[in-house]
């Protein structure tokens, strides 16, 4: 047991280190580079001022619009699909298959598909293929098992349409799952790296595509890199700090069955 605890502590430290460093590196003073030593500790805000000319803000705007639209679609369409499956539609096998199929692998045929649909190098390339997610359907379906079916039947007897039922009855009960799915979906889309690099040109690069390019082009401007990394991660850090408990609960209960 002691060995197991030690392993846990060691690994937790290993995980925490880059996260803490991600926050600190943004404030590295310029002397660090002059003295060629990253262990020059200090505090400086100049790195953030330098971000202005790099195109980071533009990339942030692209990421926010594309990710926002994709997440909205995934929740709305995911809710519909999960509700239909709960009503007996046989779609679960397909969802599970897609869950095991990373989009990284299908880049070649996806490229062709977007090309035929004239979506290459448009905002649509970053949004339309991501309007539905198997993980979101899966998580919402787990939550739907909790919904007492009499409530749905009663609403139907009152003459409510299916869309009204989903919006007024199901969605409020599934709020924990919807929140957790929204954060997970946001993170998954925000973190796409290769996909936006391939499907769009520089004007439509997302934050991740931008960061990888910055790391290549300005590898020795440590403070600038640190600040860009922190700004690009901030939305996710904030979301995670707020909703961490809910995300972990929903995620775990999804895998308990």
């Amino acid at each position: 047991m002691i060995v197991m605890r030690l392993v846990t502590v060691a690994f937790a430290t290993f995980v925490a280190l880059p996260l803490l460093w991600l926050v600190y590196a943004a404030f590295i003073p310029a002397e660090a580079l002059v003295r060629a030593n990253l262990a020059t500790f200090g505090f400086s805000l100049e790195n953030f001022a330098a971000l202005g000319g790099t195109g980071l803000w533009r990339a942030m705007a692209v990421s926010f619009s594309a990710t926002g639209l994709a997440v909205a679609g995934q929740l709305a369409f995911g809710l519909g699909a999960a509700y239909a499956i709960r009503n007996g539609l046989r779609l679960l096998a397909l969802v599970m298959l897609l869950l095991a199929l990373p989009s990284e692998l299908l880049l070649v045929p996806l490229y062709r598909q977007l090309q035929t649909m004239a979506l290459i190098d448009t905002l649509g390339a970053l949004v339309v293929p991501f309007l539905a997610s198997p993980l979101v359907v899966f998580l919402l379906l787990q939550g739907l098992r909790r919904v007492p079916w009499e409530v749905i039947e009663a609403a139907r007897l009152d003459g409510a349409g299916e869309i009204t039922i989903v919006r007024r009855v199901v969605a409020p009960i599934l709020r924990p799952e919807l929140t957790a799915s929204a954060v997970l979906a946001f993170a998954a889309h925000w973190n796409l790296v290769l996909y936006p690099r391939i499907m769009t040109s520089e004007a439509l690069w997302t934050v991740q595509a931008f960061l990888t390019e910055l790391l290549r082009a300005r590898a020795f401007e440590w403070g600038l890199l640190g600040a860009a990394a922190l700004v690009a991660s901030l939305p996710l850090i904030v979301l995670y700090l707020f909703f961490e408990k809910r995300i972990i609960e929903v995620f775990e209960s999804g895998f308990r069955s």
């Binding site: 590196a25 070649v108 895998f255």
Partner: protein, 287 residues
């Protein structure tokens, strides 16, 4: 009337199904057709029959990258499973359970590009903080063996939280009475863990093994971010070779053939693993 309601409920799955069909299923199936093309991505494709498929067999770089992938999986997968199990057991029911889980799950969500920069500034052999402060250097920019270890470490850093969560969920699914009964019968804590808890975690470990294998065979964002396949191709895993061929050398037709190759290998390996592990589980249960 009931039937009408059901049909209307089914209709709500239409948008999601359409997206899945157009952007996952159709691409998945059309890989077969694209694999028979010579195609640069911008010009019109030229059908070349089975040329790409025969090229797979004689492509030394492809088989080398399969070897690299196997090495990557051989290092990453057992460590991932052991860590998931050990940490989930160590934190079960303690005060720190929630905090540790929250910490370990964070790297998987927090921007990959940002993480890559943090790692680069932390572990760079020439000027990274850790080499500066401790003198411990992992020469991942120049030494092939170190580069692969570096990618493995980054992957473990990102993914272990997921394994811990899944294992921990399974631990909580084990009924308390079963463990209590064994303790009443005089079993020690160690015996309870070895004889009851571990065997009951079998299906979960199988699940993580298969997910982990699929991930090892198909993922390559970490390689792209950290090493771009180098030095000397030492971290060119299968997925990265596919990316390079299709989108840096603009051979998308051959890229489709490699996609097919990766899919077949994944299915084969996952199937074999499921069979071997399920059989081993069954024989253990009977002894």
């Amino acid at each position: 009337m009931i039937r009408g309601v059901r049909t209307r409920a089914y209709l709500l799955a239409l948008p999601a199904t359409l997206v899945f069909a157009v952007f996952s299923l159709v691409p998945l199936l059309s890989v077969l057709r694209f694999a028979t093309w010579r195609w640069s991505g911008t010009t019109d494709p030229v059908p070349v029959g089975a040329a790409n498929l025969t090229r797979l067999l004689s492509d030394g770089a492809l088989w080398a990258s399969l070897g690299t992938t196997a090495m990557f999986a051989a290092m990453a997968l057992p460590t991932f499973l052991t860590l998931s199990l050990v940490i989930a057991l160590a934190i079960e029911g303690t005060r720190y359970e929630r905090a540790i889980k929250a910490l370990l799950f964070a790297p998987g969500l927090i921007t990959v590009g940002g993480s890559a920069i943090a790692w680069y500034l932390l572990y760079n052999p020439d000027f990274g903080l850790i080499p500066e402060l401790t003198g411990l250097v992992l020469p991942w920019t120049s030494q092939p063996w170190a580069a692969l270890i570096y990618v493995v470490l980054f992957t473990l850093w990102q993914q272990t939280g997921y394994g811990v969560l899944v294992t921990s969920a399974a631990l909580r699914g084990i009924p308390r009475e079963v463990k209590e009964a064994a303790r009443v019968d005089g079993a020690t804590e160690g015996e309870v863990r070895r004889r009851i808890v571990l065997p009951m975690l079998g299906p979960t470990m199988l699940f993580l093994t298969i997910i982990g294998t699929v991930f090892s065979l198909q993922s390559y964002t970490a390689v792209y971010l950290l090493t771009r396949g180098g030095p000397f191709g030492s971290t060119r895993v299968l997925g990265y070779y596919l990316y390079e061929t299709a989108f840096e050398r603009y051979q998308l037709g051959y890229g489709a053939a490699i996609t097919l190759f990766v899919l077949v290998i994944t299915l084969l390996v996952a199937y074999l693993q499921a069979r071997v592990l399920a059989r081993r589980g069954a024989s253990e249960a009977t002894t």
